[in-house]
């Protein structure tokens, strides 16, 4: 039986991985991921599951060890944050190209410089094109659920791709939250044993991480792109199965009070909960506002987004990272691109918020929506703005 508990989210992330009976954890600690690393280490050291914990000397090594372990057919978890993720960057596309089902919680944190340890999404956004499935958890419950789902999605014979689960650093990782922790039997029923596509074994030699030049590289890239695109069908199927077993619904984009909404706010990660309160407040005052919470970042939920914005006048996309000298935030850039060919589409406003841990309160979200309501679906002069930035 699932049990309602109170637990720090980072610890719960490690506990969720333990319920999945990982074989290998290769992790290098970094704030604010450290509690995930420490607790994974505890779980192995205490002999709670039959697994190896590899103490690596860097994040580049963590991902390299994870790749090596996954290539032998092991169920592997690693975890990182910010500079650690940036340091891993070189190896990320190799994990996906080798189609290794590694699961990686990321405690999202701003990247240097200046040095900042607080939360935003500037660490995960540069990894966008690494070929990983990428999800964003909103709270502790979603963190636990998504990590367990991630193993099943990653290992599914129709997918076989690595998955990262994004957890806002501190705002989520360091909160003690109430959550329902599935029990071992339930997870065992949900998650079948890993059946790898191929394994490194001296008795059955195979080559992995092979060489491919211009005569075949394009075909390999297309096959990788199709693998990621096609993974969405399996993700939806597994989320349906999860809902049936555990009663908690998962969708690529979750709507909140979207009925009759003329203005929609779009958030990713933990800010969805703050934005919900703002929407309640706005609705009370008669502002026809709603909220979209994007949970699936890769593969990008094109169909769900198009459906969600039908008949909407204004879409406010919030970004927690900047594409410097580019179209604003990476999320807004993709949303604009996804909706460009639609015969009717909302005016899109891009607010860059919560950089380097800057707090976003209910009042801030209300302010953002009220300003957008005043402009009445008209396009703004600037493609994006740094919300709340101090001007001279």
């Amino acid at each position: 039986m699932s049990k309602r508990i109170g637990m720090e989210v980072a610890v719960a992330a490690a506990e969720a991985a333990a319920l999945c009976r990982f074989d290998v954890a290769a992790v290098y600690p970094i704030t604010p991921q450290s509690h995930i690393a420490e607790h994974l280490s505890d779980i192995v050291a205490d002999g709670r599951i039959d697994a190896e914990f590899i103490t690596v000397e860097s994040e580049h090594s963590a991902m390299s060890a994870a790749i090596g372990a996954a290539a032998t057919g092991a169920r592997v978890i690693t975890a990182t944050s910010s500079q650690g993720l940036m340091y891993m960057h070189e190896v990320l596309p190799i994990a996906s190209a080798m189609r290794l089902p590694i699961v990686m919680p990321i405690a999202n944190r701003a990247v240097s410089g200046p040095l900042n340890i607080l939360n935003d999404h500037s660490d995960i956004m540069p990894q966008r094109d690494s070929g990983w499935i990428s999800m964003f958890a909103e709270n502790g419950q979603e963190t636990v659920d998504m990590i367990i789902q991630a193993f099943k999605i990653a290992e599914h014979p129709d997918v076989q791709l690595p998955v990262n689960v994004n957890i806002d650093g501190f705002q989520l990782t360091h909160m003690v939250e109430p959550m329902i922790m599935p029990d071992q039997d339930e997870v065992d029923r949900f998650l079948p044993p890993l059946v790898p596509y191929a394994t490194l074994h001296p008795d059955r030699p195979v080559s992995m991480g092979t060489f491919a030049m211009n005569d075949v590289y394009t075909e390999v890239m297309k096959s990788k792109d199709m693998a990621l695109r096609n993974s969405k069908q399996t993700i939806l199927k597994i989320w349906k199965e999860w809902e049936k077993l555990f009663g908690r619904k998962y969708e690529p984009i979750t709507g909140y009070r979207t009925e009759g909404a003329e203005i929609l706010l779009l958030t990713m990660g933990s800010m969805g909960e703050t934005a919900e309160i703002a929407i309640d407040e706005l609705r009370r005052k008669g502002v026809p506002a709603g909220l979209l919470k994007m949970k699936l970042w890769r593969p990008f939920p094109f169909e769900e987004l198009k459906k969600a914005v039908q008949g909407v006048k204004t879409l406010i996309v919030t970004d927690r990272a900047v594409s410097f000298g580019g179209p604003g935030g990476p999320v807004a850039g993709e949303v604009r691109s996804a909706l460009y060919d639609e015969p009717s589409r909302p005016a899109i406003i891009n607010e860059i918020i919560g950089l380097g841990g800057r707090d976003m309160t209910v009042e801030h979200f209300i302010d953002i929506v009220k300003k957008a309501a005043k402009s009445g679906g008209k396009k703004r002069k600037e493609a994006y703005e740094f919300y709340g930035v101090r001007e001279a």
Partner: protein, 96 residues
């Protein structure tokens, strides 16, 4: 696992580019990258075998007569063998 042939289309790419047939790298003839090839003057060769030792491709071998030659299927034309051959028995010539 059935080994697919050289992937003609993206649909035929093995998942993760895994190769199930050991030793198949030998079918990839890296000699096609070569711009120059080594030519031996056996009158100068002292059969020391230095070229055999230094070849990074491992494609130089000793013939029954004790003289050396390169397997041009794999020789990339790097030029290390003439550089190291102190009697000056090897020179690089342009590929036509």
């Amino acid at each position: 696992m059935v080994e697919k042939k050289w992937p003609e289309s993206w649909q035929n790419v093995n998942r993760g580019c895994v190769v199930f047939r050991p030793g198949s790298a030998g079918e990839y003839h890296t000699g096609s990258w070569r711009a120059q090839r080594p030519v031996w003057d056996n009158a100068k060769c002292i059969k020391c075998g230095l070229c055999y030792i230094v070849c990074p491709e491992g494609c130089i071998s000793e013939g029954p007569d004790g003289y050396f030659s390169a397997n041009l299927d794999y020789c990339k034309g790097c030029g290390i063998c003439p550089h190291e051959c102190w009697p000056g028995a090897i020179r690089m010539v342009e590929e036509g």
